[in-house]
């Protein structure tokens, strides 16, 4: 029983054809105003995405409105469909906008501090990744324990540890939990225990 979508009430007459009874000129000023708005590109296009708050573990729903041109979030509000918060937010949730890049304290660049130096220097990702891989491999291989004193096969390293985090997504947690174990790390923990 498909209800005719288009033109249910448009019993006749083409859509949007302004010509015919222009005699009344009712829409003249409206059309002018519409053109003026479009020309001065006053019409801002945006997208809306649903996400979840990153403070306590209630899991309140949020809707982020993103300006299509600048690609920046300009408004975050409660998600009315989410049955937990039904559109409302607590004080921290309401201030969630301050976690976006609008907060100037957000980290934006890869930073490195050389041994004994007293300042951060900016680096690029490739350099940092290679350096980190080198350090990790050397530290792991140097004290790698294949068998413990009792001669049992253990294949582990106690010289590299991993902390973090219960503030990241499930997929990222699984990726970390699995990849650090493949390297043989045993000192693995995060805030769930704190």
């Amino acid at each position: 029983m498909e209800i005719t979508r288009r033109g249910f009430l448009a019993l006749s007459g083409a859509v949007g054809s302004q010509a015919a009874l222009g005699a009344f000129g009712l829409m003249g000023p409206v059309k002018a105003y519409a053109d003026e708005l479009s020309k001065a590109n006053k019409v801002k296009a945006s997208k809306q995405y649903t996400t979840v708050c990153a403070y306590c573990s209630c899991g309140c729903g949020l809707i982020c409105s993103v300006d299509y041109m600048t690609g920046k979030i300009f408004n975050i509000e409660g998600d009315p469909e989410n049955p937990i918060n039904e559109g409302s937010l607590c004080a921290k949730g309401a201030g969630f906008f301050d976690l976006t890049e609008a907060n100037k304290h957000r980290l934006r660049k890869v930073q490195y501090r050389a041994p004994y130096s007293d300042k951060w220097e900016e680096k690029d990702w490739d350099w940092a990744l290679n350096r980190i891989a080198r350090l990790t491999k050397d530290a792991r291989d140097k004290d790698f324990v294949v068998t413990n004193e009792k001669g049992e096969l253990v294949n582990r390293t106690e010289s590299v540890a991993h902390l973090g985090s219960s503030n990241i997504d499930n997929e990222e947690c699984w990726l970390i939990s699995m990849s650090v174990r493949s390297m043989g790390l045993v000192y693995i923990d995060h805030q769930a225990r704190v």
Binding site: I3, M27, K31, A34, K47, P80
Partner: protein, 294 residues
Amino acid sequence: MKDIEDILQKLERLAARAMERNPHSAGVVSAFRPLIMARARLVDSLDLAGRGEFTLDENLFRQGIPVARQNAWFREDDPFAPVALSLISPLKTGFPDLNSTWERFTGLIDGKKIVLPDFFRSYPAGGDDLLASWAQLLEADVRIPAFLASSVARVILERRALDWAGLVQDFEWEKGYCPLCGSPPNISRHLEGTGQRWLHCPQCNHEWRFRRVVCPCCENDDQKTMSYFTIDEKEQESAFGCEMCKSYLVTVLKVSGTAEFDPDIAALSLSHIDIIMQEKGYLPMVQPEWSTFA
């Protein structure tokens, strides 16, 4: 129900504010104001027969069959003619240029040349040929009789919808078209605070709640393919656009539940958004009221 005096005053206030806020559409709003007031007065005073005889099949409703589809839209003894006639005077004040047409229309009804029940018997299926013949009688564009018929339908269905609304109160309705009469929405508003999205039906003036990031027309829920257009410095005026079915819906943002709001007046005063969106290539979900007199 608030008494009719309060409603009329509210409409008066809203129309005045709309005209002050959007001067460019003041003409449209003031043209339609008498009609809107008349419709409100009629709905309040109309006493339709057969009020209690509506049935509602719950799981049909749950599958998305609106109430009107499960019952007869109109009854033979619905007061089509009196309603039509009482709409003529506001139309005269609103659209003086068409006075001759309105006169002729009154004459034709009195003279039984235009028999309204014929049209409403097969509603909403075609009635195009009937309308074409009325248009010849009226010597006017076919959209005039179409507009008259839809206004009459609006008054009667709005009165009937008040009874139907009671029937469906406690059922979930997840569809994008009106749970009572099945018409797509002409305007929607987002409640301030909770952000709930309420769609308005132009045919029976019923408002129902719908999910936020989903298209009412094709129920597409891929958030990447839906866009929202807002007008700078007028953060309440916006439109929802769906890239899948290329349809749009004028949306008034951040309106508080307790505030005074009339969807019809809002739709008229935001007609510039209709034009902007149609120029961007989107299609309206339903024919805007003002398009008859564009």
